[in-house]
Symmetry: C2
């Protein structure tokens, strides 16, 4: 996915520290948004879960509803093509 | 959690290769069971997602319903206590 294809309410989780993403999440909610999607692939999946948990527990005192979808994407082409697992965590403010 | 506390329909995902867990999952379904829970913490979370995806796509042709719960556990005591993210993936046969 190219960066220009990423919707405004989606944050792609990669190799940055958890708090970098947690800050981005908080900035998003501070605009008045109620909903946000975290997306990650491969090893970054555990980081995405960390971000969701930190934001929910530390900043929202458990006030976020979490909806999780797992999937598989093909990465690379031809001989280099391989499956990689994906996660999509939809976080919605409940208060 | 001590090993003796693990219910029979739960597989704890750790550092083994994905196919080791996928085999354990298939053995469980071969007993006639319809439901299974994968549990993992920290870095093993992405492995748990890999196991769920491999089993669902390769062995069940997408015939498993996935239900995912995220959480946080405290690991260690006193000064060493820290939060660790957890995942629970409930896999149910739909055909």
């Amino acid at each position: 996915m190219r960066r220009t294809d990423i919707p405004a309410d989606t944050i792609l989780i990669g190799k940055k520290p958890i708090m970098a993403y947690a800050t981005a999440v908080m900035m998003h909610y501070n605009t008045g948004a109620k909903k946000l999607t975290l997306k990650a692939r491969g090893r970054a999946i555990s980081t995405a879960v960390d971000v969701a948990e930190v934001v929910n527990n530390r900043f929202f005192q458990g006030g976020l509803a979490k909806n999780v979808h797992l999937g598989t994407e093909i990465v690379g082409e031809g001989q280099d093509a391989r499956n990689v697992s994906t996660i999509e965590i939809i976080l919605e403010r409940t208060k």
